[in-house]
Amino acid sequence: MSHYISITESERAEMLKAIGVADVAELFHDVPADLRFPTLDLPAALAEGEMARELRRLSSKNSDVLNYSCFLGAGAYNHFIPAAVDSLLRRSEFYTAYTPYQPEISQGTLQAIFEYQSLMCGLLQMDAANASHYDGATAMAEGAIMAISATRNRRKIVVAPSVHPQYRGVLRSYTQGLGVTITGDENPAASVADAAALVDNETAVFIVQSPDFLGVLHDLKPVAEQIHAAGALLLMVTNPIALGLFQTPGMVGADIAVMEGQPLGIPLSFGGPYVGVFSCTEKLLRRMAGRLVGVTTDLNGQLGYVLTLQTREQHIRREKATSNICTNQGLMALAATIYTSLMGKTGLRKVAELCYQRAHYAAKAIGNLAGYEVLEQGAFFHEFVVRCPRPVAEITQALHAQGIIGGYDLSKDYPHLGNAMLICVTEQNTKNDIDQLVAVLGG
């Protein structure tokens, strides 16, 4: 018997007697007899020490960003994570608790979510943020669905081609049964203005990203005016670290703002678990999906926290709910809360500046290399596009041999750019790392 089970043989016998059955198998008499107790063809059980060894073996087959210098971003970013984040995440009180359905004994989780909502609103300058979505992409898709419900009969979604390609993929998956049209990104070379020009009085929402997938920062204030004039909503996808310095969705006048929260203290972890940050204006609040925590008082008048406005949610409203979301990314939202608290206003600005300064240093140095050209696209944050003299896959292979994880190959998503690589530089890349990258590319 496994070391996770605390029932002894004699207790088992006693319990079976109390139930009134001869053996455990009898408890399963409702299961069709011919299908009962099938053989499971699984590898033999391992002891903890054996398992730990096996895990280390599998883990060591991967090239990690602790041992390689990483210039890959494209939606998942290698940022510094203070040790205090994981130390707190490993507290059982947080990670072995369920959704806070019993508020009197879940005040820790509830207060943390309330602080998460508050911090995200502060970062984005938006009115309300929910307790999280699965990731940035699903937050964006749910935002588009919310916009459709908020604009009544409008069934058209316009999306700029510079929105993350995988996010646009998720948007299409999510809306495939809803009878909506998605347009704007047919031509990967189209500009934000080109896409925005397609917004008309049938359009529910315009989706734009800044900094966009190719790293470019956009001034979205004029775009917001144009979209609102057509009676549509503006959904802005952004990056939480960029918000340490740059234009916020609130400043722009976005109705809905979403972002991947992974840069806020969450390890790369091969793509997840991350956290989808979702926010909107006061006006849209009651159409929002997902959990929300509010403040109240208890019988003694003490400040307390509860899940609130639950009549939007599936466990109350079933098929009339705003979404089917139930389990979210709570613990990852806690990581973002702790990270944002540690950094605070000074730290977040500093991280953003480090990314900006080092990325611009790298871009200049690479732009000076023969055969390489940094695409002139306007202001950028911490990612930029480099046109390369050879296919990107060949280059990243050569870089890997020198201990470097190269940038993202844009040739599939943006073929018009040719042999183009999207390079990301964060505060984790030192000047030496950058100089070495330049040397290998130049060599």
Partner: protein, 489 residues
């Protein structure tokens, strides 16, 4: 111990920071002035690391959790979360790899993913598994999108209804609606099974499929599951299995063998990846061969000794950026590899043994919704003889004073005053006996001194909370003035 802790914003004072950051060390580039934010990040606090750590440690102590006590939340499978899982997911080669790295640089991670796909398929009797969905509800979404794609691909475009038993989780009807289907509710019969007559009356050429949780949310294995599947299949519909209650049937029966075409697994329930106060989870999905081409992607395959990713030819598309909640794959993989086939069967045997032990010890005092052998959870009713003023909510709150997390209450909605108890296999007999004693004591108090129940809890960090005010005048982010006004009332 007094654990009250003010909102973190009240710890802030100008000039503090909680992290040590380096200098840029490169020549400076000017910032684009017209694109900068203009509020000096006014909404963010300034706090030292010491204070941040103490703040979150203190608020953590206001939580009940599995590691502090029995957490018998029905349908949530709050079992022990092994500690090796946490170390495993944090190994450098798992926690610090980028999702877009070249395949040859992440072969170990892809191998783990591939093996977990195959293991889940084997346990459940399906042909292909995809691990991408992030939670049970997203697994459901994948399944119903696949059903839609399958029917449309066959030119069968009249199927616009999804059937859900009235005992279904709220996510089932919400999912069907999100895919654009009309939801048709099916009644439950007197033994807690799907009502076959009602099913026959409602199934037809408009049926895309039926979503069934089995064991169902009444804690019962549907005795007619074969017949249900036959009726749905004969009408051209498909069978969706909600795997929320899979913990009852590991090595007991394979859902793929009893007529399900597609199902989701809750790795955060059955395979004990921690619930994290609401998430993350993993809602991996499995299906029969004839639906595999429609699955979301990417899926990992083994070709010529190399692990590679691919998206099925008629895929419904991706449901998330990247690959899924990989950290949860590592934990679930570790769990299964350490238990093996016999260990998994033992999990379900003990989960069912424990639930039935609670059932027979409590059903004299708390009426059982359906008087049958239950599976991994038992549904009682908070109707105590001689205590008309006492409701399920009071019983739940009083359990807190006895040191237990309350069971799931008021769900399933088809049972009045329901109390749904799932002890899981990791609870000891000693704890369950203490729980039984507490439930008996509460029933006694309900008659003798119901005020004790109405006033409960009195030992938790806070007393009962005013949820009505929270909803009427929502304060959803820190607002010093609004909170002061609330407290002065």
């Amino acid at each position: 111990m007094h654990t009250y802790e003010p909102p973190i914003f009240e710890l802030s004072s100008p000039g503090k920071i909680g992290a040590a950051l380096p200098d840029a060390g490169v020549p400076e580039t000017e910032l684009p002035a017209h694109l900068l934010r203009d509020d000096d990040l006014a909404g963010l606090p300034e706090i030292s690391e010491t204070e941040v750590v103490r703040h979150f440690t203190r608020i953590s102590q206001r939580n009940f959790c599995i590691d502090t006590g029995m957490y018998p939340l029905g349908s949530c499978t709050m079992k022990y979360n092994p500690k090796i899982h946490e170390d495993a997911a944090r190994l450098p080669g798992f926690a610090f790899i980028h999702p877009l790295q070249a395949e040859e640089t992440v072969q170990g991670a892809l191998q783990l993913t591939y093996e977990l796909q195959n293991i889940l398929a084997e346990i459940s009797g399906f042909d292909q598994v995809c691990l991408q969905p992030a939670a049970g509800a997203q697994g459901e979404f994948a399944g119903i999108l696949v059903f839609r794609a399958y029917h449309l691909d066959r030119g069968d475009d009249q199927r616009d209804e999804v059937l859900c038993p009235n005992s279904a989780h709220g996510t089932n009807p919400a999912t069907a609606a999100m895919v654009g289907f009309k939801v048709v509710e099916i009644a439950t019969d007197s033994r807690g099974n799907v009502d076959l007559a009602d099913l026959r009356a409602k199934v037809g050429p408009r049926t895309a499929g039926l979503m069934l949780t089995n064991p169902n949310t009444l804690g019962l294995f549907d005795e007619n599951v074969h017949e249900v599947a036959k009726i749905v299949h004969e009408a051209g519909g498909l069978m969706y299995g909600d795997g929320a209650n899979f913990n009852a049937i590991l090595g007991i029966v394979k859902p793929g063998d009893v007529g399900f075409d597609f199902m989701h697994y809750n790795l955060h329930k059955t395979f004990t990846t921690p619930h994290g106060g609401g998430g993350p989870g993993c809602g991996a999905v499995g299906c029969k061969e004839f639906l595999a081409d429609y699955l979301p992607g990417p899926i990992v395959a083994l070709k010529e000794g190399q692990y590679t990713r691919h998206t099925p030819v008629k895929s419904i598309g991706r449901l998330k950026a990247f690959k899924g909640n990989f950290g949860m794959f590592v934990r679930a993989y570790t769990y299964i590899r350490m238990l093996g086939a016999a260990g998994l069967r033992s999990v379900s045997e003990h989960a069912v043994l424990n639930a039935n032990y609670l059932r027979v010890n409590l059903d004299k005092i708390y009426p059982v919704a359906y008087d049958r052998t239950c599976m991994h959870e038992v549904v009682l009713q908070g109707k105590i003889k001689g205590a008309p003023s006492v409701h399920t909510l009071d019983i739940a709150k009083r359990l807190i004073d006895f040191g237990f997390h309350p069971p799931t209450v008021y769900f399933p909605i088809s049972v009045a005053e329901s109390i749904m108890i799932e002890p899981t296999e990791t609870e000891s007999k000693r704890n369950m006996d203490a729980f039984i004693d507490a439930m008996k004591q509460i029933a006694h108090e309900a008659v003798e001194n119901p005020e004790l129940l109405h006033a409960a809890p009195t030992t938790a960090p806070v007393r009962r909370l005013d949820e009505a005010t929270a909803a009427r005048r929502p304060i959803l982010k820190y607002d010093q003035a609004a909170i002061a006004a609330l407290l002065s009332k």
